[in-house]
Amino acid sequence: MFSKILIANRGEIAQRLITAAQELGVKTVVVYSEADAGAPWVLAADEAYGLLGVTASETYLDQEKILDIAQACGAEGIHPGYGFLSENAGFAANCASRGIKFIGPSVDAMAVMGSKARARDVAVAVGVPVTPGVDGAGKSDAELAEAAVEIGYPVLIKASAGGGGKGMRVVGDPAEFLDALQVARSEAANSFGDDHIILEKFFTRIHHIEIQVLGDEYGHVIHCFERECSIQRRHQKIIEETPSPTIPHEVRLEMAQAAVTLAQAVNYASAGTVEFMYTGGGKFYLLEMNTRLQVEHPITELVTGLDLVQWQIRIASGERLSLTQADLSQRGHAIECRVYAENPAQNFLPSIGTLSHCSFPVMPHVRIDSGIVAGSAVTPYYDPMLAKVVVWGGTRRDAIARMVNALKRTVLLGVTHNIPYLLAILQESHFQAGETTTHYLADYFADWAEPAVWDDELALAIAAFELLDHGMSDMLTTGDAVMVKPDPWQNPTRWRNV
């Protein structure tokens, strides 16, 4: 086992990694930007080193700075968390060249799965289903029109070299195919200098279902079942759950087997996630493999009892994965809600500011992963996720009820956040019935705005709050956040009970 690791991340995931390492008796080193100085996860580490600057590229993405610190402090491994450097195969290679273990899969596995085309080739080679499609290279318009009928409408025409939506056309009507093909080809040629296009089946209402896998360095790979992450805004997940309310058990097993096969094909040795789209009727297709820890990993931990982060560290230190597939089962139901500092009624515009209040419920089967406290600043420099509220329940219905209660008892003031939006979703009938496609929010919450309900309770509360301290400063709050920095050595009340 490592004696010391460096955590190249911030916020709630840095806190999560620190906890896992501490439980394994491993010392932790964090690096932090100027904006994160004094953050609770920084204070929780055994060692911490400041990085000059505030932007991601100046700090958490600066490989050289981070590697220099790791070497200077004697860290044997680096855990990248998610985001930032976590899927950067070049960084993993640089770690190796400095004699530091990258806590994640091999450089090769990351490089293959990091390329959509190469990942697709591997999937096809081992029989994992990919989206039905045809490569347009060297095919005539007539041949492609025929292929489109075979694939089945609607179809998506996209530039092979593409990205960012350019050269993409969705065609629902065969009569419009040839025109759309011309437009897509010329857009592709103009934008990317290459009119090479690809034809794919287009799906509108799909389920995003992903399989957690865990592999060691000795070729042993198991799956830890699925997570359904269909509730997405702007292609980002906000509510995840396991088991999926959608897929039949035999499909679950098929998907899990496909994920294990794919992971084995690249000798995957860490925690990883194989994402599929499920289109109903038992049919699923590979989206991509994420070669890192996922944000939503806690729900898998709650139903399987595993600690995925500990396993990542243990596997990276050379331990064998001692579990067999038969050791694992899904017990009960787990849900995660991502609490973001953003305004759902204003196109999810991020909200920044200082948290005057930050208190989370402490109750059975409720897990809070967060990296903030009262007084924390939410800055525009990083992802505005404040916390993950994760619950377990014996059934899906129990878990939903527990989540509603937990969110209602989460007090976050000082920024606008999405808790009212999350509560509205959890209490909406289609969500409760498990009808959760990636189109769900567009279908039922397109023009959602928090209703402003005037009632006696509110009027009384406003009267009490407004008279609390009549005429005090503009920063009046009922919270404990300290707005002015006092001299740290002249604050006896704060130290009295230490």
Partner: protein, 161 residues
């Protein structure tokens, strides 16, 4: 005293007075007695005829945010004169969350309509705050590098007398 607030698009008025330890609130002809019971973790517990209000709140300028028995409510306190605090002329603020990239003026500077006062950076764009009319910089509430919220006054331009 009367408290006037704006909730959503509606202006509301509450009549409240203080009597020793109690607050008396008049709603639809009925008087409610409020008593402070306790405070834990920043959440106040206020009793009204045996019922508890669990209440936390924060205030920034005229903006208020409350957490009340599990729901979140945002409202604005209107000034005693009944005017909308938002409309005070010459108080300029960011329209979206941003970082102050540069402050181009200092208090006391004379400016003309259209002069750039502050440069904000958000989502990789530079957004200038310009003087709406001729005047003098009366107040500056930000510095380069500050993260600022929409609605908070950053600079005030007062018409020269």
């Amino acid at each position: 005293m009367k408290i006037q607030v704006k909730l959503g698009q509606e202006n509301m008025e509450i009549e409240v007075s203080r009597q020793g330890e109690k607050l008396l609130v008049e709603l639809a002809g009925q008087t409610h007695e409020l008593r402070m019971v306790g405070r834990t973790n920043g959440v106040l517990v206020v009793e009204v005829n045996g019922r508890f209000l669990h209440l936390a709140g924060t205030k920034q300028g005229y903006k208020r945010q409350l957490w009340l028995n599990g729901r979140c409510v945002a409202y604005e306190r209107l000034t005693a004169a009944g005017g909308d605090a938002e409309d005070v002329a010459g108080l300029l603020s960011a329209s979206i969350p941003a970082v102050v990239a540069d402050v181009l003026v200092k208090v006391g500077d004379e400016v003309s309509a259209g002069d750039k006062l502050i440069l904000l950076e958000s989502m990789k764009m530079i957004i200038p705050i310009e003087a709406p009319h001729d005047g003098i910089v009366a107040d500056l509430n930000c510095a380069t590098g500050d993260a600022v919220q929409p609605g908070l006054p950053l600079v005030e331009i007062r018409t020269a007398e």
